[in-house]
Symmetry: C2
Subunit: 331 residues, 2 copies
Amino acid sequence: MSSANEQVVLVERPQGVPVPGDFGVRRIDEPLGEGLLCETLHISLDPYLRGRLSGRHISGPILPGEPMSSEMVLRTCEAGDGVREGDLVRAFGAWQRRVRLPVGALTPIPQGIEPPSLALGVLGMPGLTAYAGIERLLQPAEGDVLVVSAAAGPVGATVGQLAKARGARTVGIAGSEAKCAWLLGEAGFDAAINYKATPLRDALDAACPDGIDRYFDNVGGDVLQAVIERLALNARVALCGLMDQYNSEKPPPGPNPALVIGARATLRGLVVYDHEDLRPQMESELQPMLRAGRLAFREDVAIGLEAAPDAFCRLMAGRNFGKAIVRVAAE
Amino acid sequence: MSSANEQVVLVERPQGVPVPGDFGVRRIDEPLGEGLLCETLHISLDPYLRGRLSGRHISGPILPGEPMSSEMVLRTCEAGDGVREGDLVRAFGAWQRRVRLPVGALTPIPQGIEPPSLALGVLGMPGLTAYAGIERLLQPAEGDVLVVSAAAGPVGATVGQLAKARGARTVGIAGSEAKCAWLLGEAGFDAAINYKATPLRDALDAACPDGIDRYFDNVGGDVLQAVIERLALNARVALCGLMDQYNSEKPPPGPNPALVIGARATLRGLVVYDHEDLRPQMESELQPMLRAGRLAFREDVAIGLEAAPDAFCRLMAGRNFGKAIVRVAAE
């Protein structure tokens, strides 16, 4: 607590894939204003943040000169209304060593969530995203063929494993052999496609000869196009992530509606903020699966606040493997 | 019955908007093979037929040299199993003066459907399309803002009037001042936009300042794009027609999925063949509305089999006004 406080700021709006030089780490003065003093333990790096840097995300822009911010795990340094000193909490806040946040913005991390960084991953927003996609949008049934893109990420891997637990045949699309091996091995997918190594359309035809019943889309772009060309009758698609276009200046077009009509498909947009009410149900289903070793996950952990820019750039280049986290301080 | 039989054939696959020279009328020999002899009274002209000429429609291609075919109203010239001589029936068949069709392919036209050509329009496939879109896909509620394109056609006008009857505010998009005047007058739409005379995006902003809750799409293309840019939260979209691309060789792209995600919208493909079970319910709701003068419709009638090619070309150029019908013989 004696070291100087620092924060990660956006220096320049990235062009295309962000580079570490788009960010900077600067020393900041304390005190930090109003709110309860908290020490940052873990920072969540998420692809949607790239949309904020272009001013295109519904959670608002981050402008040059402003600190980067996202969801974090923190330890309280003071007691407040309903919070003791030393509690582990999660909150949205600036990427800095110490922050002051209104006590109402802090959500205690339940006992069973171990390690606490899971509150940013499979038991946090990514897990809730996957859970809402399965429970409310896709509702896969026994025998359905479910495809998910960015399948080795915390959303995609959880989508696949939840679908498998409901009797679906699961096909994951990911960008490396290591990710595909993990999907087939630890995560129990029925098939995995390395879209960087094989022609995607041929691989989808081979893995889904009778078409695709359910698709959870984390990427958009040509992967979405290729899947929509292969939908089975009455297919359902959850549109959730846009990895393919976060780094683009101009929004690209999407698939021809003729494909949706022909398949009598249902496409629906998923924003996790709408499904906060599902969180207790998500935790109560996923925690026992985790404890029993029936829910695989990976974390890709960078160490130290100063590592955050590079880790975020690796994420946006698709070079992470698992939930991207920055460990700022030990628990 | 003594005149020579003739049929309309496709001579050449159209390039772009069809022209009358793409079709021909030829004399054919009788007898016509198996089935019950029927005299053609009315031929239904529908935009989806253009997709068949490109080999792109789910109901199969029509190749050069083959007769044009679609749904028709016929009078039986013979009695058969469950059908008397002189009955009015509807069936899919070739565009010719007399056809022979299996008795199982003939559906009697109920007494209340007057004139019988309504069995091809507001009380036929277009009416069922509209009814399924409202009842099963869009389900507009009191106060919803519903937009429909190709609004003066038999599908669009029925969609708007059914939505209005369910308490929605209805906005029709059409391609002429006369169509818009009819939408506002006889069909009781709350607003009408002539997309050929006003910038569509400005007109939609003015007519739907709080966004669009329900959209029934008959056209695709830039109209679909403009509407999707303006969806209200939790909007629903029925994707049904593709007038914008039926005349194109290459399928164009569609809207960026980011717009669907941001609106948490649901897009669903509608093919009327899936909703045949709704037909009795559609008839029992629409017939009383028609009799009471609470359901406006227009027919655009061409007279004589030889007029069919030109009438179809006018339809595909958007120059029809109302349900396009060819009257081959008087009832």
